[in-house]
């Protein structure tokens, strides 16, 4: 499957939600997965071809790929929080070469367009990743995960507008494919980062990534997670995510992919109302591998046949008082 609009032979992927266009790529609905929260290759092992027949998402976002292979963090990697999850996975992946040779051909068999998420710990790493992923025709869009420190400056890329702009400017000329920048919520002013990314050439903004969090072992009181700290996701973060999406919508014009704790069609419609064009489902897929489809169907009931892309792209739910943001 390539970046071309989905052909008529495509089975409808995410329920019967009306088509949505994201950066020129036509999607069968507004629901994507959050990067790193659905491994379509492993899920195919567990669910077989029924997964492809009832694929939960309208586009598939890969787990974040880095230049070098990574084992990820030592276990334990999970802690259940009130209405949420803390994870310290540590971006395990085969590295770009392994990804392109092993994973990409399999992901290309999915019935939906493909988004590849990449992370570089220096601008040149990011450039290499964007170049190598961008030249693959199986890939429809690229997502830059900027929730990591830049080893050159020591700053978290996505927390700083200038760092983010410099990263996007560096890679923008390297591909014609649409570039999504995925923001970290652990920033003073995510709208400023989003605006900087947009000015530097980002075609879309995705948010939020996980909130930084921690848990201790209930008896020893040592850090529970092998990686010491982790990222919080799930319904616990939804209110924070919704606020950030609304705030970013008020400062940018590019399409937004909103996520963070979405567990129902109602939640997803909130994100559209706040100004998002698409939504992504992460942790809820852990509770229900079919959550993406279910949520798309619930959205359709709420939005009616006119659908997602019309009623809400007006930004109806955008805060009336920008001062409040």
């Amino acid at each position: 499957m390539t970046a071309q609009p989905a052909g008529p032979a495509e089975p409808p992927a995410a329920g019967a939600a009306p088509p949505v266009v994201l950066c020129g790529v036509q999607l069968s609905g507004p629901v994507l997965n959050g990067s790193g929260t659905f491994d379509a290759i492993a899920a195919h092992r567990a669910f077989g071809d029924e997964l492809l027949e009832r694929f939960p998402f309208a586009a598939f976002v890969s787990k974040t790929v880095t230049v070098e292979p990574r084992q990820g963090n030592p276990p334990p990697r999970l802690w259940e929080a009130p209405a949420g999850l803390i994870n310290s996975i540590g971006l395990p992946n085969r590295g770009i070469t392994g990804f392109l040779s092993h994973d990409l051909p399999r992901l290309a068999e999915l019935p939906v367009p493909l988004v590849v998420s990449v992370m570089g710990f220096a601008r040149e790493e990011l450039a290499l990743l964007v170049e190598r992923v961008g030249e693959r025709e199986e890939v429809a869009l690229l997502e830059l995960n900027v929730s990591c420190p830049n080893v050159e400056t020591g700053l978290i890329m996505g927390a700083d507008p200038a760092e983010t702009a410099a990263a996007v400017e560096r890679v923008r000329p390297l591909t014609e494919k649409p570039l999504i920048v995925k923001l970290t919520p652990n920033a003073v002013d995510p709208p400023a980062v989003a605006a900087a990314a947009e000015a530097a050439g980002a075609d879309a903004i995705a948010l939020i990534n996980t909130l930084k969090g921690m848990a201790l072992h209930p008896h020893t009181r040592d850090p529970w997670l092998g990686g010491v700290t982790g990222g919080v996701s799930g319904p616990a973060v939804r209110a924070v995510a919704l606020q950030q999406v609304a705030a970013v919508a008020a400062r940018t014009k590019v399409p937004l992919i909103g996520m963070g704790g979405i567990a129902s069609g109602g939640d997803a419609v909130d994100f559209l109302a706040a100004g998002a064009t698409c939504v992504a489902v992460g942790t809820e897929s852990f509770r229900d591998p079919g959550a993406g489809r279910r949520i798309a169907a619930e959205m359709e009931v709420i939005l009616g046949p006119q659908g997602a892309n019309r009623a809400y792209r007006s930004g109806k739910g955008r805060p009336r008082s920008p001062a409040g943001l």
Partner: protein, 289 residues
């Protein structure tokens, strides 16, 4: 991969209905009628379970995620669909909530998941070693092995005390043709069977006849002892491992165990792993600490 003992699951959560909930000493036996799932999960596979209503609001505002449970027994339901039995030990808010369910209540499930036990190596008998709640996947394995070839399947079970050892009765009940297994029960306090650890009769058995394939499930310390005993004697062993899980189908990368080949996800590459793959079965964050 085609040959791995894995029955595929429908790709979404579905609702089953609790048909029975029986207290069995220290455990709960939860039986559910699964209409839409496959009739033939493989022993060692597991399901992600959650109460169909009111999952949450327990101690510490949990549970939120579903919980992994080996199925302990499976049979066709007279009205169609499958009847699945799970053996539960209440250790926290999730197992506590599941233990509160009554007949008629909805049970949300995803599964069967993971890779189950493989057949015994050629020329070996099956030797099942279970500790505590770890007997659950051995029960359906025993059902299957007893149904296929009766001779020689041996079962060694260890429990804290007589209260928990009641689970051993399950291995006697429901056997096809009333066959009786070779069953040895150990308890920590000697209140039933022999006092001591289940690794003692295992050691005796291996010394007597090492032509076995060992199938083990239980607490990490037991699994590690089994692994070491078998490794020393080059006996094949399949260990059913545990880990905290968020998804159960390879999505979160949260359930990894370190192996000689790097981290593997227990939920997709396991839960049954060849003991040879492991340097240790003492996994961090696994089991009931």
């Amino acid at each position: 991969m085609a040959a791995e003992p894995r029955t595929l699951a429908p790709p979404e959560r579905r609702m089953a209905e609790v048909s029975a909930k029986v207290r069995l000493g220290g455990y709960d036996l939860l039986v559910a009628h699964d209409i839409a799932g496959p009739p033939d999960p493989r022993p060692g596979q597991f399901y992600m379970l959650a109460a169909g209503e009111r999952w949450g609001g327990g101690s510490g505002e949990r549970p939120y995620l579903p919980r992994a449970f080996s199925f302990a027994r499976v049979r066709r339901h007279p009205d169609g669909g499958t009847e699945l039995a799970f053996l539960l030990e209440a250790v926290g808010p999730g197992t506590h909530r599941l233990g509160q369910l009554s007949p008629g209540d909805p049970l949300a499930l995803v599964g069967p998941l993971g890779v189950g036990f493989r057949s015994p190596a050629a020329g070996t008998r099956a030797l099942l070693v279970g500790g505590g709640i770890g007997v659950a996947p051995l029960l359906c394995l025993h059902d299957e092995l007893s149904g296929t070839w009766h001779e020689g399947v041996e079962v060694l079970l260890g429990f804290r005390s007589s209260e928990y050892a009641q689970a051993a009765d399950l291995f006697l009940a429901g056997l096809p043709g009333g066959a009786s297994p070779l069953l040895a029960v150990m308890t920590d306090d000697g209140s039933v069977g022999r006092p001591g650890l289940v690794t003692e009769p295992l050691l005796e058995g291996l010394e007597r006849d090492p032509a076995v394939t060992v199938y083990a499930c239980g607490p990490p310390a037991m699994l590690e002892a089994v692994r070491a005993l078998c490794a020393e004697r080059s006996v094949r062993a399949q260990l059913a491992l545990e880990s905290g899980m968020a998804c159960g189908f390879g999505a979160c990368f949260g359930c990894v165990a370190p192996t000689r080949e790097g981290y593997v996800r227990i939920c997709v590459d396991g839960p049954v792993l060849d003991a040879e793959l492991l340097e240790t079965a003492l996994l961090t964050g696994a089991g009931h600490s």
